[in-house]
């Protein structure tokens, strides 16, 4: 067990293993996103209240879920890096942050343009929206902090600490719609309850959510491999790899 973790956690081990995983996640992401998009845009019935504007849900909900998961992933990677000194975890964290910020932006932006026809406003200082905005700033803070040090290791450690502290915002986002009286509606999906939407509406949403996650995993693998090449460029195995190509 420890040997496997150690091997997967070594830059070379991760580089080789992720090369084999990557194509599967890309293929799954393309398949899920294409099917989900066509289904959601063309075949899902229009909402009886919101009409076709509800089709924004198919990008809004997956992006919002993924933004939060990316932050949790960042915090988990930070713990692995700080406790076990596994460098690959920090490299993965460094590539998760920008994409997490992008997904948070997508969630906020799609929510804003959805808010105009349904709520009559693109922004309210409601608990859900505000905590998502804080998430965006946390991502920015982590990215900036990482770059603010002359020594890469100091930047990595500072960014890791902020990621771990900032994870407190995630339950706040999740329960914001229950703790406070918000304009934002409660969760669309729940593990314990039956969805309140008809299947032809939530099935494409499920495909989109899974597609976004596969996309995130594939992109993280790809960019972590880039980061390994960058940081390990003086290692013998990287130089042999370059010469062999």
């Amino acid at each position: 067990m420890w040997r496997i973790i150690h091997q997967f956690g070594s830059p070379k081990g991760f580089y080789d293993f992720s090369a084999r995983l990557q194509p599967w996640f890309w293929a799954a992401a393309v398949l899920l996103l294409l099917t989900g998009s066509l289904w959601g845009l063309l075949y899902a019935p229009a909402d009886y209240q919101q009409g076709d504007s509800f089709r924004i849900i198919y990008v809004h909900v997956p992006a919002a879920l993924l933004a939060q998961s990316a932050f949790v992933g960042l915090a988990v990677a930070a713990v692995i890096f700080l406790v076990w000194k596994i460098k690959v975890a920090d490299m993965a964290a460094s590539v998760m942050a920008p994409f997490g910020a992008a997904m948070t932006f997508v969630a906020l932006f799609s929510g804003a343009v959805w808010g105009v026809p349904t709520w009559g406003t693109w922004w309210v200082w409601d608990a859900r929206l505000t905590s998502m905005l804080i998430l965006l700033f946390l991502f920015f803070g982590i990215i900036a902090l990482r770059g603010a040090f002359t020594h890469r290791d100091s930047g990595s450690r500072a960014a890791s600490v902020l990621a771990i502290v900032g994870v407190i915002n995630i339950p706040i986002i999740k329960y914001s719609v229950e703790w406070w009286n918000t304009l934002h509606q409660p969760a669309t999906f729940s593990v314990t309850e039956r969805p309140s939407m008809p299947a032809e509406m939530w099935m494409p949403l499920l495909l989109m959510v899974l597609g976004f996650y596969c996309f995130f995993i594939a992109l993280t693998l790809m960019r972590t491999r880039n980061e390994i090449l960058r940081r390990e460029s003086n290692k013998r195995w990287v130089r042999e790899l370059v010469r062999g190509q």
Partner: protein, 68 residues
Amino acid sequence: MMAFDSVSSFLAMGGYAPYVWAAWGVTLALMVGAVLHARAERRWLLRDLHRRERRQANAAVGNNSNAS
């Protein structure tokens, strides 16, 4: 059953075209952009690493010819 009966009604999105297409457009742009960036990043890195290997190989050859 398709929810729209023509391409134009699909594009019109029941009158919500600006909202729906803005949200989907920004999402698509960011995701495609992320993939293109990651691919370009890999190309740049490998090109730089190749260049360095070649430079060092040339330097080694240069040193040898000086010595002989």
